[in-house]
């Protein structure tokens, strides 16, 4: 095969409509969600999504740090999306770069749209996302993990937030791009859906799409989110599958 750094575009779509990993255009990568794997956090979730591995934890409602961010009428939602140095092929310098800060901001704003923050004035709900292994779609995997972690922490919300990215590979609209498709693809459109209202609370886009393609991409994304929504609810049910409260013992 080609040497290191060769710019050869791999075959992203076969004539039969199969993608680089054999998926169809509207097919998600395998997703496994575990609710509550961490002991220190108030809520947590681990998501393996294709070759992504993402851990999320929620602390709070608790005191606001730094203090000046405190709001008198509601909780502030602070999000920190961070990538481990070993999560990508070329070692990433530890710490938040501009990309991570932007992603942290749009994820925090997505959650502000669904969390009943006014129930907890003068507190902070801290959402931490650590990407341990990255393979395209980490902001959506992180958002899904964080949403399950928020539910695991017992934070009241309008709904869970399933998220997925839709892209364009070899001229075709495709659901849930993996790394090679993202690198050589023509567009990327991550979104997060409030299933109850059918509205989007995270939406970004980069690349080239016609209005018709964009319209189909939105439909495909919403359909993908619906599948992920089911997996998120199942993960939360599994968390307490073997738990029985000792009635009256407390």
């Amino acid at each position: 095969m080609g040497s290191v750094g060769a710019k050869d575009v791999p075959v992203l779509l076969t004539p039969e409509g199969r993608r680089i990993d054999g998926r169809k255009l509207d097919e998600l990568r395998p997703i496994r969600i575990q609710a509550g794997p961490l002991h220190q956090a108030d809520g947590s979730a681990f998501v393996e999504w294709g070759a992504n591995k993402v851990m999320a934890a929620v602390y709070g409602p608790r005191e606001v740090h730094p203090r000046h961010l405190q709001q008198n009428n509601k909780a502030v939602i602070q999000c920190r999306y961070n990538m481990a140095a070993f999560s990508v092929d070329e070692r990433k310098r530890p710490g938040l770069d501009r990309r991570s800060q932007e992603i942290s901001k749009v994820i925090a704003e997505a959650f502000e749209s669904v969390v009943f923050a006014e129930e907890y004035p003068r507190t902070s709900i801290d959402v931490y996302i650590e990407v341990l292994q990255a393979n395209a779609g980490t902001r959506c995997a992180g958002l899904v993990a964080a949403s399950v972690a928020l539910a695991d922490a017992g934070i009241p919300m309008v709904d869970l937030l399933p998220a997925v990215a839709v892209g364009k590979v070899a001229g075709q609209i495709a659901l849930d791009l993996k790394k090679e498709e993202d690198n050589f693809g023509e567009a990327d459109l991550p979104m997060a859906l409030v299933p109850q209202s059918g509205r989007l609370v995270l939406l970004q886009m980069e690349g080239h799409m016609t209005p018709e393609e964009l319209s189909r991409a939105l439909d495909l994304g919403v359909a993908g989110c619906t599948v992920i929504y089911g997996k998120m609810k199942q993960a939360l049910r599994d968390r307490y599958a073997t738990t029985e409260l000792a009635g009256g013992a407390a």
Partner: protein
Amino acid sequence: MSGEVAAEIRTAHVLELAASGKRLDGRGADDYRTVSVEPGFIATADGSALVRLGDTVVAAGVKLELGKPFPDTPNAGVLTTNAELVPLSSPTFEPGPPQPGAIEVSRVVDRAIRAAEAIDLTRLCVTPGEKTWVCYVDVHVLDHSGNLIDAAMLAGVSALAHATVPAKRFGVAEADYALDVQHLPVECTFVRLGDTIVVDPTFDEEQAAQGRLTIATDELGRVVAMQKGLVGAFSPDDVRSLVARALAHGDRLRAAARGGAA
């Protein structure tokens, strides 16, 4: 405030239990928590391991890149150890630049790897004075339930022991090859709780501790590094007996680092 009061009550309780030879989780003074190591947990790393030490969870990834040797060691490779105590892992960690605690963990782990000569740095050199492998050991703490130094060390050394040098990818050899790990150092940490000294402290025991001593040993029975931490003191006889205890725990921890349970 209420958190601090609760912590004080817990500290008093930990010390009270220790006085009667007991621990919060029911262990004896010299019982190490269950250790499990999952090598190869991170596919994007050249070597990796996920370590569980009781409820403490730590991931480590090794990355190798080509770089320039330091001018004063033109024939040696470069080794860098870094620990991230991210706020996800504990309610006591806050976002921001690395805290002294994180720096201590990475420096203590780094020192043991170097002193034990776990990897022969001269073998990382490709062209003296010009080109060498730079080996990064990055430790990411995920769940802080105490004794991060031992967990970070196990994760780091296990990731090294399972690492591949990406020589083909970087175009300096025909094929990738396993990183040669010649010694396997492990750390064993103790804390003083009143008159007793317990191994492998939990988070609550660390809060109550009146001194902490970490002893790194290798498979030859050598002591390769030590670090006394927290407020408190140890007598020379304490140190002698803790070295013996650290050596006794070492082989089992090394077996875990090679991959498997202990």
